[in-house]
């Protein structure tokens, strides 16, 4: 697929900002705490990207927290109890979540609208209670003191150094999260602009007609849900590595709702909507910290206003569409 010239410029500019400009600015200003914030934004937007894909097939998904939590636990257990390399646990956590999504998705993806939304909301709570109950997840105490990611090498060639030896762990995690975010959204962009994306839109618009033209709607829905959960699992696994711990309360229902809100705010019709939405919600909340006890009130009021005035998300504003990178 050929990208248009202004798209290449847009992508180049974006990559420059996140990989060069941001680290430089943080270095100059000395605000090292921003690394943690931006790393979180990158990881949360990966999980939100997954939720966005389920929106794209016409399902409201409020269950991403369940998969982030599952991914976090899978990675933590593998690293701590089975001494598996953290780098290997990222794909394993993702695939584990995808497999769970297939099993759960087959029955529940038959539901539509609010029924599906409610079931996924319950999933988040089920995941938390499961983590509390299972012996391997160590109950309410969770798993802590997880070692930092070790070295990743192939045939003796070091691709990623041991994180306990790097000078700036925060920067290392930032790069890791940013690279994965770029890969995730490049993949989603490709998916949506390929025939698969058209098929997903056909599901979103009319499932009956889609099946009458021969689309295996159940299969496509499960695939989309599995990809969504894969991304949730991956982001959960890296969160676990950054906080070096995982608890049943690591991803509460609020997170699941936030993942959905991120998509709404950025725009359900735009691949990069969840990324922008996550950034705005995360930073907006932090900026409003200065308003003290009015923080939540102002935050909610702004959200309501934004959804009222821009029901198709912030990316539906003209300036974004002109630049041509929005979709």
């Amino acid at each position: 697929m050929m990208l248009k010239r202004n798209q290449i410029i847009g992508v180049g500019f974006f990559l420059f900002v996140i990989f060069v400009a941001v680290p430089w600015l943080i270095h100059v200003s000395g605000r090292w705490d921003f690394y943690y914030t931006l790393t979180s934004v990158a990881l949360l937007s990966i999980a939100s990207g997954g939720v966005w894909l389920t929106f794209y097939i016409g399902r409201i998904n409020i269950g991403q927290g369940a998969f982030a939590l599952t991914g976090g636990y899978v990675a933590a257990i593998l690293v701590v109890k089975y001494d598996v390399s953290f780098w290997l646990t990222i794909p394993i956590a993702g695939l584990f979540c995808a497999a769970v999504a297939v099993i759960i998705g087959l029955p529940i993806l038959r539901l539509r609208g609010v029924y599906f939304a409610m079931i996924t909301l319950v999933l988040t709570e089920v995941a938390r209670l499961t983590a509390l109950a299972l012996p391997i997840t160590n109950g309410a105490k969770g798993i802590s003191s997880i070692p930092l990611p070790g070295e990743l090498s192939i045939l003796g060639l070091t691709l990623i150094p041991d994180f306990s030896t790097v000078a700036n762990v925060k920067l290392a995690f930032y790069y890791l999260a940013a690279v994965l975010m770029v890969l995730c959204f490049a993949g989603l962009y490709r998916l949506v602009n390929s025939r698969i994306g058209h098929l997903c839109r056909s599901l979103q618009q009319n499932e009956e007609l889609a099946s009458s033209i021969g689309v295996n709607t159940a299969y496509l829905r499960v695939i989309a849900f599995a990809i969504s959960s894969f991304l949730g699992g991956v982001s959960g696994a890296i969160f676990m590595a950054i906080s070096r711990s995982i608890y049943p309360a690591s991803f509460p229902v609020k997170d699941s709702v936030d993942f959905m809100l991120n998509c709404f705010l950025g725009g359900l019709g735009y691949v990069f909507g969840p990324m922008l939405g996550t950034f705005m919600i995360y930073f907006g909340w932090d900026v409003l910290f200065t308003t003290g006890k009015y923080q939540l009130l102002i935050y909610s009021a702004i959200l309501i206003l934004l959804i009222l005035t821009l029901p198709n998300g912030v990316l539906s504003l003209r300036i974004f569409n002109k630049r041509g990178t929005a979709k």
């Binding site: 390929s194 698969i196 058209h198 056909s202 009319n206 009458s212 033209i213 689309v215």
Partner: protein, 259 residues
């Protein structure tokens, strides 16, 4: 003539109500067969049973000798029996051309992963779908509005788009759900020509309809059902003179059969 589609003792019960009762008939290759009946006769239910959008209580539908009843709708479509809908069922937020392109799904050679990676097969598919979609769009006189959003189309064009979507799947049998409903005389006659054109492309057409003049004009054969049971079957002139049919339509609707 051999039967392409065989409906055998098809029955559908909803609780205590028998909507379709032991209906049997054959559809021959490249014919236009209409199923007619007064309102509430069970036409729509029969239609959904044949296209497998409803499971049958008993009886079966055979396509080329293979059972297709009670399979998933997309599998029935894959075998070559495709239904059209009434006009509101389209992909509203896509252009006319995109509606037709997406409906080429059954002709896909590449896998989903192939489309993601943009393999040669996938690219060839895309090119072929675009070319074929243009041809179908022209065939149904939708060329001038090919880039229009489907939700903006007037009813007549929507009906044609529905047929275009059906044709794009390359069906052996096209099942049409009331293709003339709500049309005036001119529109009906234009659509009659379109349906004939579809048959001339080698597609067998089974339509469910209650517009009598159109049905008499277009059908090779007609099956009449009333209260869920088949009461007559034959060529249009036979049906017009059939006592049971006249009786079924007597009363408020007797003028409809008079042509």
């Amino acid at each position: 003539m051999s039967a392409l589609l065989e409906v055998k003792g098809l029955t559908k019960r909803f609780g205590g109500l028998t909507a379709v009762n032991d209906v049997s008939f054959d559809v021959h290759e490249k014919e236009i067969l209409s199923v007619i009946g007064p309102n509430g006769a069970g036409k729509s239910t029969l239609f959904k049973l044949i296209s497998s959008f409803l499971p049958s209580s008993s009886g079966e539908v055979l396509f080329k000798g293979q059972r297709i009843s009670n399979l998933a709708p997309h599998i029935v479509a894959r075998k070559g029996v495709v239904r059209t809908f009434q006009e509101t069922t389209i992909f509203k937020s896509m252009s006319v051309r995109d509606n037709v392109i997406i409906s080429h799904h059954l002709r896909s050679q590449a896998s989903l992963a192939g489309y993601f990676l943009g393999t040669k097969t996938a690219l060839a598919d895309e090119e072929e779908f675009g070319r074929s979609a243009d041809e179908i769009v022209e065939f149904l006189n939708l060329g001038e509005i090919r880039n229009e959003l489907a939700s903006n189309l007037p009813q007549g064009h929507l009906r044609a788009l529905g047929i275009a979507i059906g044709l794009a799947t390359n069906p052996s049998v096209l099942l049409m759900d009331e293709p003339f409903a709500g049309m005036n005389h001119d529109e009906t006659m234009r659509t009659v020509e379109l349906v004939r054109g579809v048959r001339d492309r080698g597609v067998t057409v089974l339509l469910v309809e209650h517009d009598m003049p159109a049905v008499m004009k277009i059908s090779d054969r007609i099956v009449v059902i009333n209260f869920g049971e088949k009461i007559a079957e034959g060529i249009p002139s036979e049906i017009q003179e059939n006592e049971k049919v006249i009786e079924a339509y007597l009363g408020s609707e007797d003028d409809e059969i008079g042509m």
